[in-house]
């Protein structure tokens, strides 16, 4: 077991280094320059002297290999530098947004799991009945409707029908739980619905497969109670692919809710990503890509651990 985990853990590092190299060089291929963008502002003019001075300050006048060396040494020490747009430490830029994105991701995951697991199991147990059809319609609709569109529908309904709008400024949960939930519950529902649709379909098909297995038939033949068969034998085994879907969606939600964050004016990682790219803020883009890649890699590692825990065959293979 420990050998398996160590192997998985060590595999994370080459992946991260690969991401770092690709990110650093790819973003420099995109035309545009943070210095010119910032100095030109609205007036559309910036003096060459001011541009030169700023480039020197950011080290952008240095050869690429030197810039990369400086950055990667910083990354190894977990120092991602300062934002080229604001001059603030990268972590200051990220921490508040990360808290918000993490909360939305957690809330959306809760919504998804609460909906998907019971509905998926129910649909499998009542296959080809009206219950199954209703769950399938619900889940296909969820897949077809983009979460940002659902968000727009929420906002317009609030505005037109209730003459109300959710708060537009983020209040941390520990400061005011009511205000916090009032703002974040709607994006969590919009995102969670689509998320639940994916998980519902996966739960249903995994359950259908498992319910046809010999060991389930044996359990039934032994006269075990239906609830026990479902929970102990069927659901536990069906959960492996469902957990994979849930985990990967969770990782995606941390940095991938760009449009939904715009719709609800959420100060999250997705929006920060877009702004960083629009500003050509190299240091911030690099840090954000590393953060999201790190989350994906960590989630994958956690899933490997979970697999080993749920399915002993994996750890002994």
């Amino acid at each position: 077991m420990w050998k398996y985990l160590l192997k998985r853990f060590l595999l994370m590092f080459p992946t991260l280094i690969g991401v770092a190299v690709v990110t650093f060089f790819l973003i420099r291929v995109i035309p545009g320059d943070v210095v010119e963008l910032r100095l030109a502002g609205d007036r559309g003019a910036a003096s060459d002297a001011a541009i030169k001075m700023e480039r020197e300050r950011f080290g952008l006048d240095q050869p690429l290999w030197k810039q990369f060396g400086t950055w990667i040494v910083g990354v190894a020490r977990l120092d991602f530098g300062t934002s080229m747009w604001t001059g603030s430490p990268i972590w200051d830029e990220i921490k508040l947004r990360f808290a918000l994105s993490l909360q939305v991701a957690v809330m959306a995951t809760i919504v998804a799991v609460v909906l998907a697991v019971p509905l998926g199991v129910l649909a499998a147990l009542r296959q080809d009945t009206w219950v199954d059809y209703a769950v399938r319609i619900f889940s296909i609709a969820g897949l077809a409707v983009p979460s940002f569109w659902l968000g727009i529908v929420f906002i317009l309904t609030f505005l037109i029908v209730f003459k109300w709008l959710p708060p537009m400024v983020y209040t941390p949960f520990w400061v005011n739980p009511w205000q916090n939930m009032l703002q974040l519950i709607w994006p969590a529902l919009a995102v969670g619905y689509r998320y639940s649709a994916v998980a519902t379909r996966m739960t249903r098909s995994a359950m259908l497969e498992v319910l046809r297995e010999d060991y389930v038939r044996t359990a039934r033949a032994k006269g075990l109670a239906q609830r026990l068969i479902l929970v102990r034998h069927a659901l536990k085994n069906a959960m492996l692919p469902v957990l994979t879907v849930i985990a990967l969606e969770f990782a995606f939600l941390i940095g991938g809710l760009v449009v939904t964050e715009q719709v609800f004016n959420l100060n999250g990682i997705g929006l920060l990503f877009v702004q960083a790219v629009a500003h050509r803020d190299y240091t911030l883009i690099q840090a954000l890509v590393m953060l999201v890649a790190g989350i994906f890699i960590f989630v994958n590692f956690a899933m490997d651990v979970m697999y080993a825990w749920i399915d002993p065959r994996i750890r002994f293979r």
Binding site: D42, A46, A278
Partner: protein
């Protein structure tokens, strides 16, 4: 008879009472009311807090309420061109125009309780005009005429000039020239990049990056009774749909930059009399730059033909319904002191009302220049929906009507400056926004040596005219020089092609009072005169 007289008397008394009570109510409505928090949306965010070193309104809108200026633009002047004292109580200008002496208000306090004196004004202007090595000052070029800033006593500041410059006073009213505390600058010239300490009507409370900025009333503000508001909260929102939703859902009172005509209509339809709309010509403009080192745009006949092809008056009617442009204008914003009178404007190439005659002339010029029918060139536009894209489509349509075959290439917004600076274009959309309507500021980029002369024209006549108008002390003489420069720039040489003046539209909650729109979205953001009605 007596009965009738009594009835008339009673009627007059009743009418008087009714009128006076109505008048009182109206007066009460117009009388500033203290209290409340102004909620406004900012479509951009401050990169740093130092206005001397920044170029975006994202700095001005949330942070200007914390600062004072030496001189400011009158917050009630719709043209945004009238300087009034802020920290300066009065000023005098020497007869030769070389010495400007400002008397400062006494008893003005910084937010930390220390007194503001001429030392602070001098230190701030020294930072702006004569920045030390490594200190960024983006507008120091605008003060080339200033030789030295002096502080002869605690309440006097003196600017000595190398030569007279008519724009200096208005330039000193620049909304970017916040007065900082000398002691803090002496310790660290970069202190103001990440901190706030001013003498303005509001005290800094907090900035949550990407989210909001909060200020509260300064109880020790020098202008007693002001500010009227208890505080303000600026919310950063990049999506225009969210901005509109915020105002419609009454989560925000106002956005100080501007909305499109469609967004204005959406808000007025939804909110009726709960919304008030202020509009003004906007000191922003898209113009066309043609690369003078690329054929056939090195030929002024071709450049003039491109300008003659445009039906600006029809475009004004049509485009103003869908995007944020409106007025047909010369080199200055209509309605401001140096704006071109309509009669003179019509004399410029491409500004006459007979579009058929203009286009016939355009075709003749192209033939004369040896440009074949169906000549093809690429027009590069910036990938921003408003107003770039509608203007771009209009330009291409107009040029096709004189037999030109125009290909459009849309460049992503972030890569656009780089493309212009590299000169990687034949014909491209260019733009500028001013913070005060002033010929010196608006025309500086059209002199040959300007870093922003992307079309790379070389024109000694324009350079001389620019310098002459800048030093002309008599406004009438200056107007004549500006007109000559305009004719040279837009007509005789047609170095650039003016499109339409942007149009600023501010639909705001009707409770917001005491704020007047100006042609610049950089002006009028100190918020000391703003109040919220019941």
């Amino acid at each position: 008879m007596r009965h009738r007289r009594n009835w008339i008397t009673c009627s007059i008394v009743a009418l008087s009472l009714a009128l006076s009570s109505g008048w009182t109510a109206a007066m009460a409505q117009d009388k500033p009311r203290s209290g409340g928090e102004l909620l406004f949306v900012v479509p951009s965010e401050p990169p740093s807090y130092d206005a001397h070193a920044e170029e975006t309104f994202g700095v001005i809108h949330p942070i200007a309420p914390h600062y004072s200026l030496l001189v400011r633009v009158d917050p009630f002047d719709k043209t945004g061109t009238k300087p009034v004292g802020d920290l300066a109580e009065s000023w005098t200008i020497s007869k030769d125009g070389l010495v400007y002496t400002f008397k400062l208000r006494q008893g003005v306090k910084f937010h930390d309780g220390s007194e503001m004196t001429s030392k602070d004004v001098k230190a701030s202007y020294d930072k702006i005009i004569f920045p030390a090595a490594g200190v960024k000052s983006l507008r120091k070029e605008s003060y080339r005429s200033v030789e030295v800033v002096e502080a002869p006593d605690a309440y006097t500041v003196r600017f000595r000039l190398k030569y007279p410059e008519s724009s200096l006073l208005l330039n000193l009213a620049s909304p970017w020239n916040w007065i900082y505390k000398a002691d803090l600058l002496a310790k660290d010239m970069h202190w103001y990049e990440k901190n706030v300490m001013g003498t303005g009507p509001f005290v800094f409370v907090e900035h949550v990056k990407g989210s909001h900025w909060v200020g509260k009333k300064n109880p020790n503000y020098w202008d007693k009774g002001k500010p009227y508001l208890d505080g303000f909260r600026a919310m950063f929102m990049s999506s225009s749909a969210s901005q509109v939703a915020a105002i419609r859902g009454e989560r925000a009172h106002i956005q100080f930059r501007g909305f499109s005509p469609a967004e204005r209509d959406q808000l007025t339809t939804a909110l009726g009399n709960k919304i008030a709309v202020q509009e003004s010509p906007w000191d922003c403009l898209n113009f066309v730059s043609m690369h003078h080192e690329k054929k056939p745009f090195d030929d002024k006949r071709v450049r003039r033909a491109l300008s003659l092809a445009l039906d600006r008056y029809e475009a004004s009617q049509k485009l103003s319904k869908i995007t944020l442009v409106k007025d047909v204008s010369g080199v200055q914003v209509p309605g401001t002191p140096y704006a071109t009178p309509p009669a003179e404007l019509e004399k410029l190439a491409g500004y006459g009302h007979d579009i058929n005659a203009n286009r016939a002339e355009a075709k003749r010029l192209l033939r004369e220049a040896g440009v074949p029918d169906g000549f093809s060139f690429t027009f590069k536009n910036r990938g921003i929906p408003h107003p770039y894209e509608p203007i771009g489509i209009w330009l291409v349509d107009q040029w096709r009507q004189i037999g030109l075959n125009v290909k459009v290439e849309t460049i992503e917004a972030s890569a656009y400056h780089n493309m212009l600076k590299r000169g990687d274009f034949e014909v491209a959309m260019d733009f500028q926004c001013g913070f005060i309507v002033e010929p010196d500021l608006d025309l500086a980029r059209f002199i040959s040596a300007s870093d922003a002369n992307y079309g790379k024209h070389k024109d000694k006549v324009i350079d001389e005219l620019y310098q002459k108008q800048a030093r002309a002390v008599d406004p009438e003489e200056r107007k004549k020089l500006v007109r000559q420069l305009e004719k040279r720039l837009l007509d005789e040489e047609a170095h650039v092609i003016w499109t339409l003046q942007w149009h600023r539209i501010i639909p705001h909650n009707a409770r917001v009072k005491g704020w007047t729109i100006t042609p610049s979205h950089y002006l009028n953001n100190q918020l000391d005169t703003v109040w919220l009605s019941e």
